[in-house]
């Protein structure tokens, strides 16, 4: 292969190397060190320092930042309305306020990926955010996305069981998968509300054991019944919230009045009642996390994301074995993925999905994505709109199975044209002084004398070289 190992590792496991940059240590040491600690999710500049402040409207950006913190979403929303309620232009934007949290999350995730200290960590974190998709397409739920991705982030160095538990009994998930109003038929609230199966089903199908475990419709219903009562409250200030309960604290909360009392049976195992505290579902989650189907399902998904669209079974088996042997320790599982990528990964190429491509483009070229928030005049000019234009709304897939991750899902004529347009925009701010480094990078990526190197040499214009490099097969793939 023409790519060297360091560049391959940096691109497959992280977001690539800057022009002229190399890894400071061996790829394995470089990657392993990053997965053991949780870097701050922040708005980093090209120098790796947190931005002093985001530009443009301070209230909007404060709001976006507050959406990254747990439980403050709705009070921030109320404050902003109080301050700007009479400002017509502001209102035009804020009337679509649900764009702002998405924009903030996309911004922080992107700047952490391209300029932050732990690209390998970010790559795995983005994988898990997508696995536990809790985007909402409408309304209030979108303001919870920041809390959701931070919950996933905080669980990155613990066990899969803890991440599963925190992700499922999480306001964004509860809201997204319609568990807010779900009530057991024999609960006090059961007179008014009834059971909603959505979260129970996706807990089994998408988050843990997968349909391969052979569960039945009865198991789905039992799981949904165990989840009843788990809801959230957004705090006393926000009275219009779907679930306002006076005196409750923001965040997740168990309402025993909604919970279906009694023991339950899922996949043949009986779970004792815990009608006052709602711990019954956690007993199930513990078993789901250690179910052999879960290890296999997660290992397959990781292998597809990091190794190949059709990964070798031995790689999947080794990752699954690491999962099982460590009782789902995420650092151990991620280490196993890194080892597979470094040993087996170079035998395959992975077509890069839009988010990772955009982030790698900026990291490589040392450019910044637009950091303007959506404006009243142009609601579609923020970073989140650029992700959407590329086909992958960041943190907002159309369905709860998240964004797909294979070449068949992302390679099409319209997609290739889309990457051209974005490469053109990304490269527009490059200075002629990067010419030498860019040429060297192209040779490092594709090889001297390759069609790409030849086309770039014939061009000689920095902007054009950068565009050709970003949309070359060598860069589109890792």
């Amino acid at each position: 292969m023409t790519e060297d190992t360091n560049l391959f590792a940096a691109r497959r496991l992280g977001f690539g190397l800057r022009l002229g940059e190399d890894l400071p240590v061996s790829p394995r040491d470089w990657a392993m060190e990053q997965i053991r600690a949780i870097p701050k999710l922040d708005f980093y500049d090209v120098g790796g320092q947190p931005l002093a402040s985001l530009p443009a409207d301070a209230a909007l950006t404060d709001y976006a930042q507050s959406c990254l913190r747990f439980g403050e979403e709705n009070s921030a929303e109320e404050d902003i309305l109080k301050t700007h309620g009479d400002d017509e232009d502001f209102w035009k934007v804020f009337a679509k306020y649900w764009e702002i949290p998405h924009w903030g999350v996309a911004m922080a995730a992107t700047l952490s990926a391209i300029n932050g200290p732990g690209p390998v960590f970010e790559r795995f974190w983005q994988f898990w955010c997508n696995h536990f998709t809790a985007s909402t397409s409408t309304g209030h739920g979108k303001t919870l996305i920041g809390a959701h991705v931070q919950t996933i982030r905080a669980a990155m160095t613990g066990s899969f069981e803890t991440m599963l538990q925190d992700a499922v009994v999480n306001p964004a998930t509860i809201y997204y998968l319609d568990a807010v109003y779900s009530a057991g038929p024999h609960s006090r609230a059961g007179k008014t509300f009834s059971l909603n199966e959505n979260l129970g089903r996706e807990l089994l199908e998408l988050y843990s054991v997968s349909p391969a475990a052979g569960y039945t419709q009865a198991d789905v219903v039992e799981t949904a019944l165990m989840l009843t009562g788990w809801a959230f409250t957004s705090g006393p200030k926000h009275k219009s919230s779907a679930v306002y309960f006076p005196g409750a604290q923001p965040g997740r909360v168990f309402f025993k009045d909604y919970h279906e009392p009694g023991k339950r049976v899922v996949m043949g195992k009986t779970y004792a009642a815990d009608d006052k505290k709602g711990g019954q579902i956690f007993a199930l989650i513990k078993d789901l996390a250690s179910h052999p189907s879960t290890a296999k399902f997660i290992a397959t998904k990781l292998a597809i994301a990091f190794i190949a669209d059709q990964p070798p079974q031995e790689s999947v088996d080794r990752i699954a074995a690491a999962f099982t042997a460590s009782n789902g320790d995420l650092v151990t599982i991620h280490s196993a993925v890194i080892d597979e990528v470094l040993s087996v990964g170079p035998n395959f190429t992975k077509f890069t999905k839009p988010s990772a491509w955009l982030q790698q483009a900026h990291r490589t070229l040392g450019t910044m994505p637009t950091i303007q928030p959506p404006s009243a005049q142009h609601l579609s000019n923020g970073l989140s709109a650029l992700y959407k234009d590329l086909g992958e709304v960041f943190g907002g897939p159309p369905q709860p199975n998240g964004w797909p991750d294979t070449e068949a899902d992302w390679l099409s004529q319209a997609n290739l044209d889309r990457r051209m347009r974005h490469a053109n925009a990304i490269s527009s701010s490059l200075k002629p002084t990067v010419a030498d480094d860019l040429t060297k990078y192209v040779e490092r990526l594709a090889g001297a004398g390759s069609p790409l190197a030849v086309a770039c040499a014939n061009s000689g214009v920095v902007h054009d070289i950068a565009v050709m490099m970003l949309v070359s097969p060598q860069f589109l793939r890792t």
Binding site: S137, L177, D178, V180, Y181, S182, A183, T192, F193, L195, N196, E197, N198, R201, E205, L206, P211, Q217, L379, S380, N381, A385, L386, D389, G391, P398, Q399, P400, N401, P404, E407, A408, D409, W410, L411, S412, Q413, A414, N415, L416, D417, R418, M420, R421, H422, A423, N424, A425, S450, P451, L452, V454, A455, N458, D464, M468, V471, S472, P473, L476
Partner: protein, 389 residues
């Protein structure tokens, strides 16, 4: 001049047809040389991901058990169809087509999938298979391979339903401008060196020769609406050498809560899309066109506690187009008595929806029904639609 795009090994659906026409015609039972040429119809398939509630879209008002299950989910001002079935008032254009003999509803139908997972269900809806994750190609893709016509998807990615051996165009509006076309040309040798990116790059370069400046036709290219995508598809399909099949990929039918707001709006958009498509193709092409919506499953007959419905089984397929010989609601109605429901909760599907998919392929593309069954999709009862297609 010798075209840089004319590489011999390129397999487009048209060249694929040329290369295999003699072979496949010879291999077709019942298709003699005297048979009419392959159909010149147009088919727009709209994917309704999430599980469309057929009982909300086309309620069986003649079934006296309907009100036992639903209070809020029967709209007022329903539009009359055949007396037994009525149409949701969000779909006045479809109603007009029905009155004009140009709409068909297949009710109490579904793909043969009963396990209520969106993703298994959608895989079968697109793959056209008997079990989930059986095929890497879709039933429209295989039909196009057999018929050799071009196709377009009105989405960025190629959905599974259109994947086959050949190449499918894709179109979706962007908020960003293209760079200078010379830059695309310079990338030609770079793309061609890659076996799978090569054909995609070649098609893109081909399109740039006669660019369709469609981005400006959208109210907001960053948020294209279904009816605008349908209009764009119609414009492309009206061209003499335009695509014979187009797909629009829509989501948002998973109405677990507050269904009446969401589903009514979505059905209204589909209604707009059918009308926009008819206008865009024009009267002549509309005569040989069919629009069809497909979904992965229906929903529970009863409302849940959040004014919505959960995943179910039977639903309806909505079709409209000048290709239809007459209007009608086709159903072997299973009834809504508790004992008639699937697993005590869902509308039973008494007809395999793939039968209509197969009949549509024959009517639009001229594919022999036996060929459809053996190579494209298991469509057991295409004869059910002989009076309509």
């Amino acid at each position: 001049m010798s075209s840089i795009f004319g590489c011999d090994e390129e397999i487009t659906r048209r060249t694929f047809l040329k290369a295999t026409a003699i072979l496949s015609f010879a291999a077709l039972p019942g298709l003699s040389l005297a048979a009419p040429p392959p159909g010149d119809g147009r088919l727009l398939v709209i994917l309704l991901r999430g599980g469309m509630d057929g009982l909300y879209a086309v309620p069986p008002i003649g079934d006296k058990n309907l009100p036992d299950h639903r209070r809020d989910l029967i709209e007022k001002g329903l539009l009359s169809l055949d007396g037994y079935f009525a149409l949701n008032p969000a779909m006045p254009s479809l109603h007009k087509f029905y009155q004009d003999g140009q709409a068909l509803i297949l009710h109490g139908a579904s793909i043969p999938y009963t396990r209520r997972s969106h993703f298994e269900g959608q895989n079968m809806m697109e793959g056209g298979t008997d079990t989930p994750y059986e095929s890497r190609t879709g039933w429209l893709g295989r039909a196009l391979d057999a018929a050799g016509f071009p196709a377009v998807t009105m989405s960025l990615p190629i959905p599974l339903i259109l994947r086959g051996q050949g190449f499918t165009d894709s179109s979706f509006p962007s908020v960003l401008r293209r760079p200078d076309s010379a830059l695309y040309q310079k990338l030609q040798p770079v793309w061609m060196a890659d076996p799978s990116i090569g054909p995609v790059g070649r098609a893109l370069l081909e399109e740039l020769k006669n660019p369709v400046m469609s981005d400006m036709m959208y109210d907001d290219p960053g948020d294209p609406q279904v009816d605008q995508l349908a209009r764009e598809a119609g414009k492309r399909m009206a061209a003499p050498d335009g695509p014979h099949i187009a797909v629009i990929d829509d989501v948002g039918y998973d109405t677990h809560s507050k269904e009446i707001n969401g589903a009514s709006r979505k059905l209204g958009k589909i209604d707009d899309a059918i009308a926009a498509f008819a206008r865009a193709v024009g009267p002549d092409v509309w005569k040989k066109s069919l629009v069809m919506t497909i979904t992965e499953f229906g929903r529970t007959v009863a409302e849940n506690g959040a004014w919505g419905t959960d995943h179910g089984y039977g639903t309806c397929v909505i079709a409209a187009g000048g290709l239809l010989k007459k209007s009608g609601v086709v159903a072997d109605w299973p009834g809504l008595k508790a004992k008639n429901l699937f697993e005590g909760r869902d509308l039973l599907a008494t007809v395999d929806a793939r039968s209509l998919y197969g009949a549509a392929l024959t009517a639009v593309l001229g594919l022999d029904p036996d060929l459809v069954r053996s190579q494209v999709i298991n469509a057991p009862r295409t004869d059910m639609f002989d009076a309509y297609l």
